[in-house]
């Protein structure tokens, strides 16, 4: 499918004085509050979305700190005694036990993805309309990726829930969830909301006609 030439300003709904519905694509006159066809709320000012992005993102980043400082798991077994594990501690333990595959899954889901998302969302929001070396297509793809991948970070919260409900073997072995689980779950949820509030049209319309020139060939 051919792509529009980057040096010609695209005719967008906004430029035509219209608002496009994100739910079903129907266009409405600017100023209308809800889509007549599917009922989705129409956002006239996309800058408000950006404020929401920053608000959710900061909440997510702040909660990620206690999520890593407090223990995630509280394990006690007859052979090894009681031990508490943070997110990183749990990953080290898995690596020490040579469970490389699982260690990698947990590391990616709990460390790489959350940190990557913070950086990606902040960078996308900061470079809006700027002539960054990254093309609009690539920025758009990054936002879609962040939006898609965010929910997978919740894995560790589920792992802890399964472990602590299952491993209740009296004196032999017991696992209990630690306070970090709550902080981590909230951090993931807030970051998901940040990505969802990010209107991809911001990337495209602030980019305007010039932003893609040259870089678009990539």
């Amino acid at each position: 499918m051919g792509r529009a030439r980057p040096d010609i300003p695209a005719l967008t709904a906004r430029r035509a004085g219209l608002v496009g519905c994100r739910g079903c694509g129907q266009v409405a006159p600017a100023g209308q509050h809800a889509c007549a066809r599917c009922g989705t709320r129409l956002e006239a000012d996309r800058r408000i979305c950006l404020q929401r992005v920053w608000a959710w993102l900061s909440a997510g980043v702040i909660l990620y700190v206690p999520a890593n400082l407090y223990p995630m798991l509280d394990t006690s077994t007859l052979t090894t005694g009681a031990s508490q594990n943070t997110i990183l501690g749990g990953i080290f333990e898995l690596a020490r036990a040579q469970d490389w595959g699982v260690a990698a899954i947990v590391f990616v889901a709990s460390v790489v993805v959350p940190l990557g998302k913070f950086i990606a969302i902040a960078q996308l929001a900061l470079t809006l309309g700027r002539r960054a070396p990254v093309s609009l297509h690539r920025r758009h793809r990054l936002l879609r990726l962040v939006d898609f991948i965010g929910r997978w970070s919740m894995i560790d919260v589920f792992v802890v829930a399964i472990l602590s409900s299952l491993v209740q073997l009296g004196k032999l072995a017991q696992i209990h969830p630690g306070p970090a689980a709550v902080f981590f779950a909230l951090s993931v949820a807030f970051t998901m909301l940040a990505a969802q509030s990010f209107d991809p049209r911001l990337i495209w319309d602030r980019g305007g006609a010039d932003a893609g020139r040259g870089a678009e060939a990539a």
Binding site: M1, R3, A10, L11, T12, A13, R14, A16, G20, C21, R22, G23, C24, G25, Q26, V27, R37, C38, G39, T77, L94, A97, G101, V102, I105, L136, H140, D147, G150, R151, W152, M154, I155, V157, F158, V159, A161, I162, L163, S164, S165, L166, V167, Q168, L169, G170, L172, A173, H176, P177, P179, A181, V182, M192, Q196, P200, R201, I203, W204, D205
Partner: protein, 200 residues
Amino acid sequence: MLACPECDLLLARREIGPGERARCSRCGHLLFSPRPEAAAKIVALSLTVAILMGGAMFFPFLSVATGGVSHESSIFGTALAYSEGFLAPLSVAVMLLIVLLPVARVLALIFALGPLAAGRAPFAQARRAFRLAGRIRPWAMAEVFLIGTVVAIVKIGGLASVGLGPAFWAFALLVVAAAAMDSLTNDWTIWDALDPTSPL
């Protein structure tokens, strides 16, 4: 006239047949991918998900055994793992993410598309229900939970032997059905069918 939801490009709607796909010419976003009998397929898969989830709730999920001691857990018990102290709200959240929201999503889809699948006019609230199903989608995390289960099984592996209960298999099947259903709901032509004023 349509606007791309991702890049805002104004597009003229052109008729496409089943099996064809229409993408935005600027950003490449998939706009239409009509499939024959989409409503009926979505309803059938939704019913499958709802029934499997019902089964998964009442059968044992996982069991562990070591040194003569054993313990069994259900999906419900898994959510209740966080019920101690100030973690309690997380129990509710886990229950929502792995059971209640996936079920709410399929019920909303059955309500919205059921009459269409039966060849009748949609209910008055059908569009609201279909929109709700779309909003719930990122928060219905059955598949994330399934991968979490696999990780947990490997983690316990060294400590005790783990048995998979019927609820685990029901959950695994449900994830497959939900994924097939999700790919069918990515299509704007469904709005035509739900729109009472649509000429189509």
